[in-house]
Each structure stands twice: as C-alpha cells, then as structure tokens.
C-alpha cells in the first residue's frame, strides 16, 4: 500500500503551526465563508454522507447525531467540544489542540453553523495547560480577524467559543457528565433519555463532539465526503448494522514499544502493523504478550489476535468492547497481566463517580481482590469472583447509568478469559510483588 499522507496531522510539524497565518497559508479558512453560506441541513448532509463516526470512543455517526436536534427550535442550541481526553493511553486530541488549533476552530465553526448554534463550550481537561494557552491565543486571533464573534465574515452568522477548564475527573469525558460539570455541578452522568440533542446543557438541545471528530469535519468539507469514504473500511455486508469505518484515524501507540507515537492512518490497520511499522517494534527485542486496542476500557488483544483490524468493528470480533479511542498500549512478554489488570482496576476505581452502586462498589472490590492476589494471598476462586463482579456491572447488564462501568468490567473479563494462566500461576506461586511506590499509593 502506498504511504498514507497525513491530513489531520498535515501541519503539525510546520514551524509556527499554531498561528492563524500558517493555517491560512495552508488554505485554512479559505472557504469558510462559502460553508457558512450553505444551508445548515446541507452541511449536515455532507457530514452524514461521508460516514463520519465519532472519534471519542463510542463511534456514533456524527451527522446522524446532528439530525436528532429538534427542528425549528427557537434556541439556544449548544455545541460542547469534548476535550476531556482522559482515557489511559490516549493523546491525539492533545496534539491536535497544541499543534493545529485552527483546524479545530474551523470544525467548530462548521459544526455550529450546521446545528444552528452560536454558543460553543470547549471543555478542556485541566491537565492540558499547553493546549489551554494555545487555544486561548488562537481564539483571540480569530476574534481579532472577524472569524468569531458577531456577523462572521459578513454572513450574518454569530459564534462565541468559551474555553472551560475541567478539574481532573475522567467521568467528565462522558457526555452528560461533561454537561453536568459545565453547569457547575458534580459530574454525575444523566439518565438517558432524554438525550442531550433534546435536552442537554442548561436544558437546551446540545451536541457533544470530540476534538478529532470536529477536525475531521473540517477536512470533509474541504475535500468532500467521497474523499473521506475512499479511506478506511466499508460496512460488513453480513452485518446490516455496521455503518462502516471511514476516514483517517489518529492511532496512539505507547507502552513497551521502541518508538511510542501518534500516527495518522486509514481506519482498519492492524495492531501488528502499528507496532512493527510505526512504533519501531516491541522494545528490548521482546514479544508482545497483550495489546490494549483502544484505551484500557476496551480490554485486551492477546498475542494471537494482533492481526485484528483496528476499525470500529474489528476489536469487537475478538471479544473486546470496541475501538474506543484507538489508543494502542503494548505490553511485553515479561510483564504479568496481574500487574496490568491491577493498574486498570485501580484507575477505574479512582475515577468511578460513585453515583451507581454496582460501579462504585464493583470497581473498588475488584481492586481489593487484585490487591490481595498481588500480596500473595490470592485464591483461585478469586478469578471466578472477579468475573462475576465484572459481569454484573455496566450498561450491558443494565445496572448503571453510563458506560464507565462497562469499561471497568471489560479489561477484567478479557484479562481473565484470555490470560487465565498468568493469574493462576501468580496465585499458585504465592509471591508478593508490591514495590514500595505501590505501597506509597495505598495512602489513597
């Protein structure tokens, strides 16, 4: 296959890539006046026909989401940009915001026009200080250049973008958690329906889109839906519910590889290709034992599943939860899955918002059980107990409000079913491998 030319990442290595001048010199904002003069419904149709699916994790068709807004609503309608990128292993949104903020802002302009919104809130996780400074400067530049504010470029379209900083909570990446947080409350996800498109931020119709999704919107408007559809994987003819996986995707590769990186490729590359061709192979000449396909919530691929296509449908075919954020984390063959799973469970237990009992208690108990295994006091029955707890929490069994819980259960299910030998060997050896750093963290 010919080398794929990056589109979303086309400018990130240019000098002064964050400035309006650099973006404009590369053709940015050249046709924004034309797009803002299109009928909003036509813009939505372009995005819908391109087959763009949300890049934040769930993969919901973006244009379709926009059509759920009530017709002829008097307004206001809100756009929330989800920049609370917190899924472990994921950092593509950070690079997009730090290196090419105007591509995102142009996407926000287009999306807001399509959904008839003149208020956009960009919910940025607090930890991204550099993104905040870059975006803040870029937004100021846009106001000064008449690209934001009232009557943008004489089209009669108004838009304000407010940068809103979070305060270090993973759950704010859940769209209704984000909305609650923006409203000044604890970020407890809402029961759906009503979905945000009907009743969202400040009880008004709201669309929540991920940063990478909106950057794709910019590229789709410039290059056309046919271009977008020429990249990626078409729908599976045997699955009428598969809308296909079109377009470029930013894959993050980290963990035990020689060259951790974020690389833009057509949807549908395999984990093996990513590791071997883009991340310099597994480090220290070792082999991969397991690979996280899209952030830890999605579970694990075993070493026999590395040829799985990382499109929206691929990971699900081998028992993972989905593609998630396409954050690939490689775990080498010298690492125990007990340690890896403990790390995942501790994360989820720390980040569970505490609203639904099965999640709050389930994540905490799974972490406690794994702690017991790690101090050499595990029992083989613990593995079945972990599976039972994991099987009873989440939207899939119907016991929680949001999907965090499914994402907490999945690594447990995958790790124990695919790597049971690792756990049995660990338990039988009665060894204890806590480092002093881990002891230190027991404080929390």
């Amino acid at each position: 296959m010919a080398k794929f030319e990056p589109v979303l990442f086309a400018r990130i290595n240019k000098p002064d890539s964050t400035s309006l001048a650099t973006y404009k010199a590369d053709g940015g904002y050249a046709r924004i006046k034309e797009f803002l003069s299109m009928a909003p419904g036509d813009v939505t149709n372009v995005v819908k026909d391109a087959g763009l699916r949300g890049r934040g994790g769930a993969g919901f068709p973006c244009g379709l989401k926009w059509t759920f807004l009530p017709k002829d609503h008097p307004g206001p309608i809100y756009l929330c940009i989800n920049a609370d990128e917190s899924e472990p292993g994921t950092f593509n949104n950070r690079i997009l915001m730090e290196k090419d903020p105007h591509q995102l802002i142009e996407g926000i302009l287009i999306a807001c026009h399509a959904i008839r919104s003149s208020n956009a809130y960009l919910y940025l996780r607090y930890e991204y200080g550099r993104s905040y400074r870059v975006l803040d400067a870029a937004i100021r530049e846009c106001y000064a250049a008449g690209l934001l504010g009232k009557n943008i470029l004489g089209t009669g379209f108004n838009l304000d973008i407010v940068l809103h900083r979070g305060a270090g909570a993973y759950i704010c990446g859940e769209e209704t958690g984000l909305i609650e947080s923006l409203e000044g409350k604890r970020a407890w996800p809402r029961i759906k329906p009503p979905f945000p498109a009907i009743e969202g931020l400040f009880r008004k119709p709201t669309i929540v889109n991920n940063v990478e999704t909106l950057c794709c919107v910019t590229q789709i408007l410039y290059r056309g839906g046919a271009w977008f559809k020429s990249i990626g994987v078409p729908p599976d003819p045997n699955n009428p519910r598969d809308p296909g996986s079109y377009g470029p995707k930013l894959y993050c590769v980290s963990g035990h590889v020689n060259k951790p990186c974020c690389v833009e490729l057509p949807l549908g590359v395999t984990a093996r290709e990513l590791i071997e061709e883009h991340a310099g192979g597994v480090w220290k000449g070792r082999k991969a034992k397991a690979v996280v396909p899209g952030g830890i919530s999605m579970g694990f691929l075993s070493d026999k599943e590395l040829d799985t296509k990382l499109d929206f449908a691929g990971p699900g075919k081998v028992g993972c939860l989905g593609l998630g954020t396409a954050a690939v984390v490689v775990i080498d063959d010298q690492t125990s899955m007990v340690d890896v799973l403990f790390n995942c469970c501790r994360f989820m237990s720390h980040e569970s918002c505490g609203q639904c009992t099965p999640c709050r208690e389930g994540t905490a108990w799974m972490t406690k059980i794994l702690t017991r295994i790690r101090i050499g006091q595990g029992r083989l029955e613990d593995l079945d107990l972990l599976m039972e707890v994991a099987g009873s929490m989440g939207i899939i069994p119907g016991t929680t409000i949001c999907g965090l819980s499914d994402g907490a259960a999945w690594p447990v299910k995958n790790a124990i079913s695919k790597f049971r030998g690792d756990f049995e060997e660990y338990i039988n050896s009665k060894r204890a491998t806590e480092t002093s750093a881990q002891k230190l963290m027991e404080v929390h």
Binding site: P88, F91, Y126, A167, G168, P260, E351
Partner: protein, 157 residues
C-alpha cells in the same frame, strides 16, 4: 465583608457573561480562587456562593467532587508535581519516578513538603503517553522522565 479580595471578585464576575446562569461559573470561580490562594477555604466557599447566588453547600458539593481543589487544611505548596501512574507510564517506569520524588521531598503522594515548596500527587493518565513516564510540574508537562532527569528537574524548582 467578603473574604475574597475585590480583585478576585471582579475576575469571577467577568466570567458571568460567558454563561446563561451564574451556577455554571462554579468551576471557573473555584479555579480563580484556588490559583490565587493555593486552596479554597470554607470562607472562600461562602464568598463564591454569595457571588454566584448559591448556597455554600452547593459550591462545596461541586468542589468536593473534584479532587483537584484543596481545602485550607491541605493547601498546596509553591509547586504542584503530578506523577502519572496510569498504564503507559507504569509500563515504562512511572512508579520509580514517583518513588524518587517521594524520597526527595520526604512526602507521600497527597502531601506537601515540610518547607512548603512542593505538593506531590499522583495523576491518572496525563495524556502524554508518547513520552512516558511523564510528570506535570504546575501545568507544564515533562516527558521521558527517569530517576536522574526528575532529580535534575526538582533541583531547579
């Protein structure tokens, strides 16, 4: 008389036009006070609540949900160091980095050094996994850390 200075109150008021109601200014207001005072005291919560026309309990409810904000008993030191402990960093030595910082300042995660210079905390994924292990010092991220590099970085604080 509010415990918050007029300057802080004015900065909070400047956030009002960005949102359709005052409650939405809770997080921005907490950030403004927290940045300036290194903590949000009970009196400051009352001061924020007055400005936002909320009950102090509502402000406290929101604040306490986010571990980010410290009350007066846990005020931050001059610098805040966050060491990432999530998966990509853990796989590449994040825990050794954390140990090093703990040793250096004789603190556990969550504590402030005796001289008030540094507050150490662990962080969940900082989103810089291509440079794991990474740490955040105040709001600047430092990547590809190891025990030596982190010692050198700390010396400069």
């Amino acid at each position: 008389m509010s415990v918050l200075s007029e300057e802080l109150r004015e900065r909070i008021r400047q956030e009002f036009p960005k949102y359709p109601n005052k409650r939405a200014v809770t997080l921005p207001a907490l950030h403004i006070v927290h940045d300036a005072r290194r903590a949000v005291s009970t009196e400051a919560i009352v001061g924020i609540a007055e400005l936002l026309e909320l009950h102090p309990a509502e402000v406290h409810d929101t604040m306490s949900f986010y571990n980010f904000f410290k009350d007066e008993k846990h005020a931050l030191g001059n610098h805040r160091i966050w060491v990432c402990r999530s998966i990509s960093c853990m796989l590449r030595g994040g825990e050794e980095v954390l140990e090093k910082v703990c040793d250096k300042f004789h603190v556990h995660p969550g504590q402030t050094s005796a001289d008030g210079k540094v507050t150490l905390e662990f962080a969940e994924c900082l989103g810089a996994c291509e440079g794991a292990p990474c740490i955040l010092v105040d709001d600047e991220c430092h990547m590809d850390m190891n025990a030596e590099l982190v010692s050198a970085l700390i010396e400069k604080l």
